[in-house]
């Protein structure tokens, strides 16, 4: 066993005595031994001194005016910061009651006056050493425990599947943000030998290591069961096994099984699994059975869908829904996490997704803080068309016509025409003038348009293009506008922002009123416009907008 050397120079002793001679005497003795010495002449000064800097030990005189030693000690023991601070009381040998009172008040030791210098030094030193030894095992245990938890967190993270994963035309991603070092949330992606693909999200009740262990075990067992068995049969068996084990834990489970164009969803206890098509929630699946392991005799059911290109399925744990409203409100979390389908036909990178989850859940009330997980399955291959137009106002009408001509029969072509003209004008001018995204919130909208049309065909600008991408699936129509290969053009080659422009948002309002969903890129230039069959804004509403 290692023994640590004792260095008096690392420790300070506060001497509290109303007699100056005593303070000097004890001070000299302790300083000679190498201790850092501080003094206080009464209880009030002592408490102030301790408040500003906690010493290693307090040498406290019993009898003092105003506030005696026991009263000082009582203050110290009531304060959690000093409740365990070593205190040696100095008492008169003729007053045995003082010794009892001192020990009863919480003194660690006492020394009777007149003070023997060897006894004083030995008591002070042994008391400080005892305090160090008392603290060490706890600190060591804490540090070992933290190391183990960090290791467990690494192992748990390593158990997650590599994402984004491609499976046929599907792009799948997911991310977990545990509320502590380790958590009870886990997801898995299982391609089977018989041509199915199963995505799982497990949320074991409670948090911490015990939940993490059950999550890992449940996942491993379900993986084994899924080999050669249907999702439904695997879940039935898993439930029976877990219920018999009686761990006191249960798992909420959402599972999506893909076989060809058929999708089967089971959700036992998690927030609704959402099937998204364009801007709408095509379906939400929840309550397919009780959580796994809760009741041995539970029954489960699957909900089946036929999927189309561009469809997206989102699974969430309740750590992502509860802080934003209701446990069963998946839509709010989907919007906040920006998980709606995109014309880009891509899923977010796992790091991006994890950052969004962490950012969203970071400010939750402590009682709502929970492990948070999202898994996204996106079926790519939706029909899309791309065109590039010169970044000049004159190019806008032709581009708008191109989109209008190809928009689906059910789409309101007047809305597409007006809305897209506004959006393209915004993108072209905004980028061309090198103004910040605030430009689209202007109350000098006419001035803005005038500026736009006077925009010179300046060198270095002619070669810039705006990309227009259209996507159509079963009942959604999306248009993406973005600057080709660049964010905003370099500002130092562009005219300064007109000072008369103030904010109001007229152009932005028009765009938002004409489409069912509008998603702006962070650069304020790119955006996506969505219409869906039977959308919220009717043609008559749009006619009112002129």
């Amino acid at each position: 066993m290692r023994t640590d050397s004792f260095s008096a120079a690392e420790h300070s002793v506060l001497i509290v005595d109303d007699t100056m001679a005593n303070r000097r005497l004890y001070g000299i003795l302790l300083a000679r031994e190498g201790f850092i010495v501080r003094t206080a002449q009464d209880g009030v000064e002592a408490l102030r001194s301790i408040e500003s800097e906690t010493p290693s030990l307090v040498l406290l005189d019993y009898i003092m005016p105003n506030m005696n030693g026991v009263e000082v000690l009582d203050h110290l023991r009531r304060d959690p910061k000093t409740a365990r601070l070593p205190v040696v009381m100095l008492t008169a040998s003729a007053e045995p009651d003082h010794i009892d009172a001192a020990l009863e008040a919480g003194a660690n030791d006492y020394i009777t006056k007149p003070v023997n210098s060897r006894i004083l030094l030995a008591r002070v030193k042994s008391m400080i050493q005892a305090d160090r030894m008392r603290g060490r095992p706890v600190r060591r245990l804490e540090s070992e425990l933290l190391e183990e938890l960090e290791e467990a967190a690494r192992v748990q993270k390593a158990q997650l599947p590599a994402v984004p994963m491609k499976w046929n035309d599907w792009r799948v991603t997911g991310a977990v943000a545990p509320s502590g070092q380790v958590g009870g949330d886990i997801f898995d992606l299982v391609p089977t030998d018989d041509g199915r693909f199963i995505a799982l999200l497990l949320d074991v009740s409670g948090h911490g290591t015990a939940s993490a262990l059950v999550a890992a075990e449940t996942r491993a067992e379900l993986r084994t069961l899924l080999s050669g068995r249907s999702l439904l049969e695997s879940v039935r068996r898993l439930n029976a096994h877990m219920a018999r084990r009686e761990t006191g834990k249960y798992s909420c489970l959402a599972a999506v099984e893909i076989e060809g164009s058929t999708l089967r969803i089971l959700n036992a206890g998690l927030p609704p699994v959402a099937v998204l098509r364009g801007s709408r929630v095509l379906a939400e699946v929840w309550g397919s059975g009780t959580p796994i392991g809760m009741f041995e005799d539970s029954t489960y059911e699957l909900t089946e869908f036929e999927v189309a290109a561009g469809d997206r399925i989102v699974m969430l744990s309740d750590g992502l829904t509860e802080p934003f409203g209701a446990t069963d409100d998946a839509r709010s979390a989907i919007s906040r996490l920006m998980l709606w389908p995109s014309v880009r036909d891509e899923v977010p990178e796992p790091d991006v997704l994890r950052t969004r989850i962490t950012t969203l859940t970071r400010d939750s009330a402590p009682e709502l803080r929970d492990d948070a997980t999202a898994v996204i399955l996106h079926l790519t291959g939706s029909v899309h068309e791309v065109m590039r137009l010169a970044a000049r106002p004159a190019a806008i009408p032709r581009a708008v016509r191109w989109v209008v001509d190809q928009s689906p029969d059910w789409a309101d072509r007047v809305a597409v025409d007006h809305g897209l003209t506004e959006a393209l004008t915004n993108a072209v001018l905004h980028g061309a003038l090198g103004l910040s995204s605030e430009v689209r919130h202007t109350d000098a909208y006419d001035e803005y348009l005038t500026l736009a049309h006077e925009l010179p065909d300046r060198p270095g600008f002619m070669d810039r293009h705006v990309e227009l991408k259209m996507v159509q699936n079963a009942d959604s129509f999306g248009i993406r506008i973005s600057w080709q290969g660049a964010a905003c053009p370099v500002e130092d080659r562009l005219p300064p922002a007109p000072t008369s422009i103030r904010s109001s948002g007229m152009g932005s309002s028009i765009i938002h009123s004409l489409f069912d969903r509008v998603d702006w890129d962070s650069d304020g230039l790119g955006l996506e416009l969505w219409l869906h069959r039977g959308g919220a804004a009717s043609s008559s509403d749009r006619a009112l907008l002129g």
Partner: protein, 116 residues
């Protein structure tokens, strides 16, 4: 202050739950209800009139109690379940496992009739 108020109403034991039942008080909740089950009280009503939210640990605790009671031929029911808790019970399908009553009075009447 006892956060889980226990009241005996005929043969029915009514236990009032606080605003939030979660990992911090789920064990205390189980202890309170277990003590009643140990007294051979078999008709237990959980009054959730003041409960806004329950977490997964609390849900596990309720299921544990349900199973203990069922093993003794007892019955657990819930009363005054608000929207927040009802959603949790629905997505976990537990609302189909034991009876839910709009008010404590109805739950108590039901329990007393069953035990009569």
């Amino acid at each position: 202050m006892n956060r889980f108020a226990v009241e005996q109403l005929g043969n029915v034991t009514c236990i009032g739950l606080p605003a939030r039942v979660d990992v911090t008080n789920a064990k205390a909740f189980v202890d309170v209800v277990r003590a009643e089950i140990d007294k051979d009280n078999k008709q237990i009503v959980l009054d959730l009139s003041h409960t806004e939210a329950i977490d997964s640990t609390a849900l596990g605790a309720i299921v544990q109690i349900f199973k203990s009671l069922r093993a003794r031929d007892g019955e657990l029911s819930m009363a005054g379940v608000g929207d927040g808790v009802r959603r949790v019970l629905a997505i976990t399908r537990i609302d189909r496992v034991f009876p839910l009553f709009p008010s404590v009075e109805e739950a108590v009447r039901f329990g007393n009739e069953k035990s009569a």
